[in-house]
Amino acid sequence: MNGKPLIFLLLFAATASAQPRPTLKIGVTLHPYYSWTANVIGTLPGYEVRSILPGEVDAGDYQPRPEDIKKLMDLDAIVINGIGHDDFINPMIKASGNKKLVIIHVNESTPQIHAVHGSGVNSHTFISFTNAIQQTYFIQKAIAALRPSDAAALQANAADYARRLRLIKARAATALADAKINRVVTVHDGYGYLLQEFGLEIAGVVQPQHGLTPSAGELKDMVALLKRERIRVVFSEETFPPALLKVLQDEAGVKVYQITHIASGAYTPDKFEKEMQRNVDTMIKALVTEG
């Protein structure tokens, strides 16, 4: 038997397998999606996770820039919120001309709660442990569909990340079981999912809409609500004007604590874990230690 064809075949197969596979480029619109996607990929070779927005810009204040549209042009997939937190991305995708882009709508199967003000849904599904785990698996499945050969490793990475998030939540739940305060007011309507996970109620939200400061009348109504409902804790956010917080503190005697909604800073794989740990530490301090 002539062995030449077999040798050629083996050589061809060896050459083909030695060639590096093309990098799968996955974009993200929000900081938590970067962390989740990066953890799903872990140390697997042949992937790039790319943030579309500059780190220092909150998605709520973002205006599309040509240099960010360029980042979309060669992407294979993009992870988006799709329920109001990153509406800017659709025209950007269209402008990029990228027609092969796979859009991963992480909220597709995530139950949403109503926004406190208005008739819309609360788009901050990402400030939550349960949603983070569910959406991490959603991302994992979507990437596995694009790279079936990595499916098992991607699932193992997602499961490992889910375990870590669950550990942070479980430790916090043990501490918050002793909470002396179970009803709070929040400045920002983004914490509904997180507080629900620990059996905490929201008596009111200060901002009339995401990113808007309340009018004098609305602030007065909030002070009345704080007094009437005997609320002692307000969870605020980083960018809310301190002068307005001082009104709540002085007039209603509340203590104010900051919860981050993980919306700015450097994009890193551990950002979500670190900031959620900080959030639950703040909640324990406010509701248990100092409550």
Binding site: T130, I133, Q155, A170, L176, Q196, E197
Partner: protein
Amino acid sequence: MDADSPGAAGIRTVEIRPPSLREETTIVVRLAVVILAIVGFYLANTAWSVDGTPARANGLLPYQTLVSEAASQAQLMFRELQEGLLEAERVRSGTGGWPSPDALAEQGIPPFVKDPTAKGPSYRWIVTHRGAFINYRGIPSVTGAAGWLLLVQEPLPDSLPDPSPEDEEHHRLAGGMMLHVSVWTHADGAELSPALVQVPQAEGWIQMRVNPPAIGYLPPPTVKTP
């Protein structure tokens, strides 16, 4: 050459007249009636229902409700069941068997693990499995509290591959098997028989959904396993 002249053999002249005013009015009225009927049918099926509630507005079946309309505790239970299901599916993919609630609880997976911040009744979780059907059932500790059911339906042996796209009711395991999954609640979970449930809507269970069913939605097949 004149078309009507004898030399133009085989050519005939046809006069096309516009419809009379009466005919035109009839056409316009008929068209208006059709449009009104379509709009009326659409509104009747989307904006209002007979009893005035918006429930049917989303094309929900009588035994379905949206998670977003539920009370906070029910929303949380639904969310935790979604998380628990994903982990159970992962185990099913890896080992070929469905994990017990105790095994899931040992890994800290909600809602099977005890939650120290839970405000409602505590739950005892059981799993039953017969044929293609798997039930994870949450039985409340007190009468009058909601019961919970996570219903998983595997494909029947020798059935054709399910071409459905993945969504809240269709989950594909890592090996390719497509599952039908759904979450159900019952107003009085403590009083129910713990026997396997295959057709929950026939036993008073309400299905909780994230999204309204898509147009052309068909409930999962309800072939009973003997």
